[in-house]
């Protein structure tokens, strides 16, 4: 329906948000492009970083998708106690601060981790988790759940009637139904994970490093923070943007549909159950792989919680403030864009997907650096950039709800003369409380766990909780780091829960 005929909300908030996003994505890109040292070209180390970035992303994405196939198939066709909890938990890594997950993985796979303790007891040489396989391990840890959820959606989207038909024909379900679905869904999932791994910073910062395991994002950070070589940092930022933009365009073309939909609660009834032990093994191993590191965070974190340095608590307070501001900002931006509607908004809403924290951060750094000490802007910058980076995800949850209200009730509102603030307050806000709360929770958790922009900008006086935790790890104060990690995990989940819960209260409709 042509909305222009009876537009009921003013357009300026949407336009303002659009402008802000453009400045933060394309504006910062222009800043880095202008400052980049083009004449020197890329050094051998830069090429190595590019190769490593792409290679680890390909391997991480490939492994995540391959491993996700048996797990999602098992979840699609088995009904067991705790299935719903497990599927919900599969959504958790999205909220999990990267640095916390890395610490959890280290306590399992690291030098002093339980795996090496076991291997040592059996007389084997210890495994090292640093470098290429450490980065891939962490990326699979993060993205296996995502890939599983996405492929599970594909599995559950196969109509039950088809399985019934296949059963009556005694036809091979795998070749007839499942393989075509995987061929349709698989490439999109692979690309989404690939894109996420391309922009990986915190994992490479903690598990990578050195000439053989440096991502472009990490190289940007090192050029800026250690060498203060603005020209090279800017050049690398341009490289990173091209990589991401290329991948993002392909992703967007292949996966138009909603990646975070609902409807996981049904089990398709089918007649070819396969071997229960295979499914049990797939689910069991995946659960162990995901849950043990999380359990270790709690286990190792609890003892040190009592005597955390005061500075960590102060950093936690800072993080809460930043996350709250970031979430508020992100939700306001998403709402004003959604109300604006239209094609330009669809583009502006996905633009941040092609941006990465370090590219935007570097651009912002270059813009503010001549005028003010960037460290003084560390916290506002972190809030702003994180709000922008979270925007595509929040928009995906809010925009369809807003569009639905326009379709269902736009004419009623217009006929009643509901416009502007009254329309927003009476019709829109109460009806989108759920996606809005979910979006706010997402944005808050993402900002809470951010270790990208903040690392680029902050001095000692602007330390957030993830940064404080990283510095504790760097100083080998592992017990305090584990306690800080537990605190960060708890705060992230708590902020998400409060927002999400807030949206569900009194939402009877």
């Amino acid at each position: 329906m042509a909305r222009g005929a009876f537009a009921v909300t003013p357009r300026w908030p949407g336009a303002l948000t659009g402008a802000l996003v453009l400045v933060l994505t394309l504006g910062t890109l222009a800043a880095v492009a202008l400052r980049a040292q083009w004449d020197g070209g890329l050094s051998t180390a830069d090429w190595a970083a590019i190769r490593f970035t792409v290679l680890q992303a390909v391997v991480s994405a490939g492994l995540s998708v391959l491993l996700a196939i048996p797990v999602s198939r098992a979840l699609a066709r088995r009904r067991f106690a705790g299935r719903q909890v497990l599927i919900t938990l599969l959504g958790a890594p999205f909220l999990l601060p990267v640095i916390v997950a890395v610490l959890g993985l280290l306590s399992v796979f690291g030098r002093g981790g339980i795996l090496n303790a076991g291997l040592g007891a059996l007389g084997f040489a210890p495994l090292s988790v640093y470098g290429f396989h450490g980065v891939v391990l962490a990326h699979v840890f993060f993205n296996l759940p995502l890939a599983t959820r996405l492929i599970l959606q594909g599995w559950l989207a196969i109509p039950a009637e088809r399985f019934r038909l296949a059963a009556t024909l005694n036809a091979p379900v795998g070749r007839l139904l499942e393989w075509p679905m995987l061929r349709a869904v698989g490439p999109g999932v692979f690309l989404v994970v690939f894109l996420i791994c391309l922009t990986s910073f915190a994992v490479a910062l903690t598990l990578g490093g050195g000439p053989r395991a440096t991502t472009v994002e990490l190289a940007i950070y090192q050029a800026l923070r250690f060498d203060f070589d603005l020209g090279r940092a800017a050049l690398l930022a341009c490289v990173q943007f091209s990589l991401c933009a290329g991948a993002a365009v392909v992703v967007w073309r292949i996966t138009g549909q909603d990646a975070m939909g609902a409807g996981f609660d049904r089990v398709v009834q089918r007649w070819d159950r396969g071997r229960a032990i295979v499914d049990g093994l797939a689910i069991g191993l995946a659960a162990i792989f995901l849950l043990v590191p999380l359990g270790m965070i709690v286990l190792r974190g609890l003892p040190g919680l009592g005597d955390l340095p005061a500075s960590v608590w102060i950093a936690a307070g800072r993080s809460i403030v930043v996350a709250t501001i970031s979430a508020t900002l992100c939700v306001s931006m998403a709402l004003s864009l959604a109300l604006w509607g239209g094609r330009a908004v669809a583009v502006i809403g996905v633009l941040p997907l092609a941006a990465s924290g370090l590219v935007v951060g570097t651009g912002a750094f270059l813009i503010v650096y001549p005028f003010v000490n960037p460290a003084r802007l560390a916290l506002p910058m972190t809030a702003l950039v994180n709000a922008t980076l979270a925007l595509p995800f929040v928009l995906r949850s809010v925009a369809p709800a807003v569009a639905g209200i326009q379709t269902d009730f736009g004419r009623l509102g217009a006929a009643l003369g509901l416009r502007g603030w009254a329309w927003l307050r009476i019709a829109v806000l109460p009806r989108i409380a759920r996606p809005l709360g979910f979006g706010a929770g997402l944005a808050a958790a993402l900002s809470m766990g951010d270790l990208g922009v903040i690392a680029l900008f902050a001095g000692d006086a602007q330390e957030t909780l993830p940064l404080a935790m990283y510095r504790l790890m760097g100083a080998y104060r592992m017990e305090s780091a584990a306690a800080a990690g537990l605190l960060l995990l708890a705060l992230s989940l708590l902020m998400f829960w409060i927002c999400d819960r807030g949206g569900r209260v009194d939402a009877d409709m």
Binding site: A5, F6, D408, F409, R411, L412, A414, A415, L416, G417, L418, R419, A422, I426, A427, P430, R431, A507, D508, M509
Partner: protein, 234 residues
């Protein structure tokens, strides 16, 4: 009097012409085959569809460029006539004040109009807690309270059973129709028209015909209506 002067509507490959004079104090039914443009015409009258050419006026005042809320017109759609998250009283109160902040006098008015449509004491419920017929009554209550001179009904009772639908139509006749008001209803059922309409406008073949008194029309149906009725029976 509601007038359509040289009105031309177009949507994709669909087009409709209308030159109409609909006097106040009457209930007028728009009847015709589905897809003929009955609802489209109603949409244009309410202000949701801008005409390609021509004018719409009420008592000589041109409405063509007014937004839906600014027209002297209330409309009930096929569905979504109530906000599900607001109480019945709030939904009805929107007719008085699109801010939901009602004075005590206004609250009394809401209660009175709920009494009038047979929803006494149900103002605190949400639409989901009402039956289909009660929801229709609540929507009618809002139109009644809005007290605008033109009321358009785009088959709002189509989802109700025949008995309930007849009850609602009678309620429209009893409460909404009046000497100062024009009620225009879309229907595909001749019995609806016969039940409460004074006049009938046949919409067919891209054209809205001039209103004809209901009894006279069904006694001597024009070709377009005869075709429609014949197909319906056969």
């Amino acid at each position: 009097m509601l007038t359509c002067d040289g009105l031309r509507l177009a949507q994709d490959d669909f087009a409709l012409r209308a030159d109409l004079r609909l006097p106040k104090g009457r209930v007028t039914a728009l009847i015709g085959p589905s897809g003929a443009g009955k609802s489209t015409l109603l949409s244009a009258l309410a202000g949701f569809l801008a005409p390609v050419a021509g004018h719409i006026a009420w008592d000589g005042v041109d409405l063509t460029d007014l937004s839906p809320g600014a027209r002297p017109i209330s409309i009930l759609f096929q569905d979504n006539n109530l906000f599900p998250h607001l109480t019945v009283a709030q939904n009805v109160g929107l007719a008085l004040r699109p801010t939901l902040r009602l004075s005590n006098t206004e609250k009394a008015q809401v209660a009175a109009v709920l009494d009038a449509v047979g929803l006494t004491g149900l103002g605190g419920r949400k639409p989901g807690a009402l039956s289909g017929g009660q929801q229709s009554r609540a929507a009618l209550a809002r139109v009644l309270l809005g007290d605008r001179p033109v009321v358009l009904l785009d088959e709002p009772f189509a989802a109700l059973g025949p008995g309930l639908k007849a009850e609602m139509l009678d309620l429209v006749r009893l409460k909404l129709a009046g000497p100062e008001r024009l009620v225009v209803m879309v229907t595909h059922d001749p019995d609806d028209a016969k039940r409460i309409a004074d006049d009938v406008v046949v919409v067919a073949d891209g054209h809205a015909a001039a209103p004809v008194a209901t009894a006279a029309l069904f006694d001597h149906p024009p070709q377009a209506l005869a075709d429609y009725l014949g197909k319906r029976v056969g």
